[in-house]
Subunit: 461 residues, 2 copies
């Protein structure tokens, strides 16, 4: 039967169907997504549908149809003229999560193309784009043609989502944010994957965070989302793995904007500050998977070793600097990382007790970072490139009362006072040795085991 003879669809009928817990067809989901992207379905109907989805769930086929319809709702990037395998990494986000600035050059240095299209953060800490924009002159708003040219030259490029890329997600995400319909695995999966798949990736590595700073606090929810994303992306033809990784404390020793870039440069130069070890290790693991899925290593472990060599040789640093220069960034700021950091106000927070650092409430730490001026409260607000928090000790470390525990950089004294109060409440000292920090990577989902995880809990998301 040709599509012209099919009965016309009406949004109200599809809302009713989902309200009653029924399964929508791919054609019905496409109708809703096209309506969202073009505005032909009014927002008050979209949000009623989103709430029905939140309360009734989406089946696996519905999540897949939603992801594909959203991917196809606008312009797409085709990396295949580059003559390389295109691989990206996506993280569900956390405090101090700066692995993008390490994995992109590491994988690029090992022969993989990394076309990284990043969304503007609504979250409490600055997003990837804010951090890059702390480099004077750095431009993230490239056209797809400029993006391709940087990729051709440097192997990696990190840009902001163009207005025409996945317009359905832009509309639906803004509506979800205002209608308490964000936290739904099916909707999260489709939102993340539609943007990644619109970049024409051959493979994708997903970093799904767990622990006190993660978007999904419950471990089982994080596992489910990881498995759902792997199954959905694989069904769309993109080789995908998901790693469940610890966000029980900030990653590395910085959280902010410029200070995160500086930490990455330090690592890319081959230095190994002890509070950066978790960041270095996770970046090598993620890059290893990217290199493996990109066909440049027979296994993730072999990919890890390739990435380690690229770090040791300095070829990853070279790739990163080349990308920054190609996107307009001023490389002279890297001559003296300390001198290039010009915070308006600084305060050192001393430990208020002696003992082990037993707990770091990382979501609260994220809010403290935001209050320094490094993050935004509302979309569109500017962020302070120099603001953020540097940690001198992390979980399980022993610290003496009066020793510097963290340095706070703020837009003003008032910003610092607020941030310091939040940070204090987020840290708990203990006189006894606390349990060891959880494994950095606690679980890995691939095409092989993702489906089994989904079946184990039923298909409702």
């Amino acid at each position: 039967m040709s599509s012209s003879t099919e009965t016309p669809l009406h949004a109200v009928d599809l809302i009713r169907k989902k309200r009653d817990g029924e399964t929508l067809t791919a054609r019905e989901i496409q109708f809703l997504v096209t309506g969202a992207a073009t505005g032909s379905i009014p927002q008050e109907q979209l949000t009623a549908w989103l709430m029905a989805v939140w309360l009734r769930g989406l089946g696996l086929d519905e999540v897949r149809a939603l992801t594909l319809a959203m991917r196809d709702s606008g312009e797409k990037f085709d990396p295949h003229s580059l003559g390389k395998v295109a691989v990206d990494k996506h993280s569900t986000g956390g405090v101090g999560d700066k692995t993008s600035f390490l994995v992109a050059p590491l994988a690029a240095a090992c022969g993989v193309a990394v076309p990284m299209i990043s969304g503007r953060a609504l979250g409490h800490t600055g997003g990837t784009l804010d951090k890059l924009e702390s480099i004077p002159g750095f431009r993230t708003a490239l056209s797809l043609a400029e993006f391709e040219s940087v990729l051709r030259k440097c192997g990696a490029s990190i840009v902001s989502q163009t207005p025409k890329l996945v317009p359905a997600d832009r509309v639906l995400y803004a509506l979800r944010d205002r209608t308490a319909t964000v936290e739904n695995a099916g909707l999260i999966c489709a939102s993340i994957l539609s943007k990644k798949l619109a970049a024409g990736l051959d493979a994708l590595v997903l970093d799904v965070k767990t622990g006190s700073g993660a978007f999904l606090r419950n471990y089982k929810d994080a596992e489910f989302l990881a498995a759902l994303m792997v199954a959905t992306a694989e069904a769309a033809g993109t080789r995908t793995v998901a790693l469940l990784t610890d966000m029980g404390q900030p990653l590395g020793y910085t959280a902010g904007n410029w200070i995160e870039i500086a930490e990455c440069i330090t690592l890319l130069r081959g230095e190994r500050p002890s509070a950066s070890e978790d960041l270095r290790e996770l970046s090598l693991i993620l890059a290893g998977w990217m290199i493996h899925l990109g066909g440049h290593a027979p296994s993730a472990e072999a990919g890890y070793r390739s990435a380690e060599r690229a770090l040791a040789k300095g070829s990853a640093l070279t790739a990163f600097l080349k990308m920054i220069e190609a996107q307009g960034g001023d490389l002279s700021v890297f001559n003296d990382l300390k001198a290039s950091h010009k915070p308006a106000a600084t305060t050192v927070l001393a430990a208020w007790d002696s003992g082990y650092i037993a707990e770091m409430d990382t979501t609260a730490i994220g809010w403290a970072v935001q209050r320094t001026g490094a993050g935004r409260e509302k979309a569109g607000e500017p962020v302070d490139p120099n603001a953020g928090i540097e940690f001198h000790a992390k979980r399980c470390a022993h610290i003496e009362k009066g020793q510097p525990f963290a340095t706070l950089y703020g837009t003003s004294r008032a910003h610092l006072a607020e941030a310091e109060a939040l940070l204090r409440s987020a840290i708990h000292f203990s006189h006894e040795l606390p349990p060891a920090t959880p494994q950095l990577v606690s679980r890995i989902f691939t095409a092989e085991n993702a489906q089994a995880r989904l079946i184990a809990v039923g298909s409702g998301t």
Copy 2:
């Protein structure tokens, strides 16, 4: 604590709260209703909340708070300067339901003030206002001052809802219609009662329809809505009863616009066509309750007898004609009811089988009436005052093949053909005597037994 020191409310938090099945406070519900009425809460947030309400339900306190907040969202009518007790009747609607044109003059003739404010129908058959507007010159859009003046002169007035009366319901109802959130007892209750209570009623009689032509098909749902409305209106200080009445066949022998008015005039003149007996009986019962609750009869039965006398004496006819004249209607059309009926096309449908009329699918009959041109498909469309269907036989009647079963009046031959096909499919003949029609009034809820019915099923609506 004064309201100025209370924390500000945000729509997204209230959506989340209802999404999670929690109970909203009266202050929270008032915030949402005010936001709907003034437009300060965008429609896409209201519909997400409505869907959460549909799927999670409202508790009794929430329904009461919603009703009162909606009642208070705009201008109100105060009938107390009339010096009479103000009583109204509301029906959940059905095919051929024209009791308003009988109970208003019957109750008015017995000393009760009947300030009847009616909404514009979205349903398949013409609404009360459409029927009245089939009288040349009749105006339903009166100001509240004109409304009061007609009431003072005639004891009854039937007008359309002013734009300023219960604006929150206007906004929410239009949104519910487009988001599949209409059929929820709590929302229906608040929508109906807010409009009735804004008319300042002392008492209210509710006619909740059941059977094949009713809005709520399931008897238990209709019972629940009836009990909920009684409990809610009583809690708001209005003496209220609800009657569950049969809508298993059209009420009276006409369904349309002018032909319904003509049927009522016939009854008010003291004639008793056999196919009108159910309409006459139900109108006397409803009017009897209105007269009783209005303090003009010691019981509903005594009220019934008073109404019967007003009918016999012709004082109800006088009251109706006085009201029509006061609202600009041309009384000369009543001189010859048949001659005043000028349908563009007419067809007589003969019985296609001999036997008893076993079943009348009254919702399908309603659609047939709409297709004649008597109803509208979309809000704002005009209706044909002369269109409709006249029934020559009703349920349980025996009819011979070829005898006229119904006469259809349409806007055109094409309208009639469509209506006839629908009507044929709605009627089933049987060679055996079918079970008797259900009781006209199957159950009555008062303040005393409504609460018990609600407790029996729990407070979720």
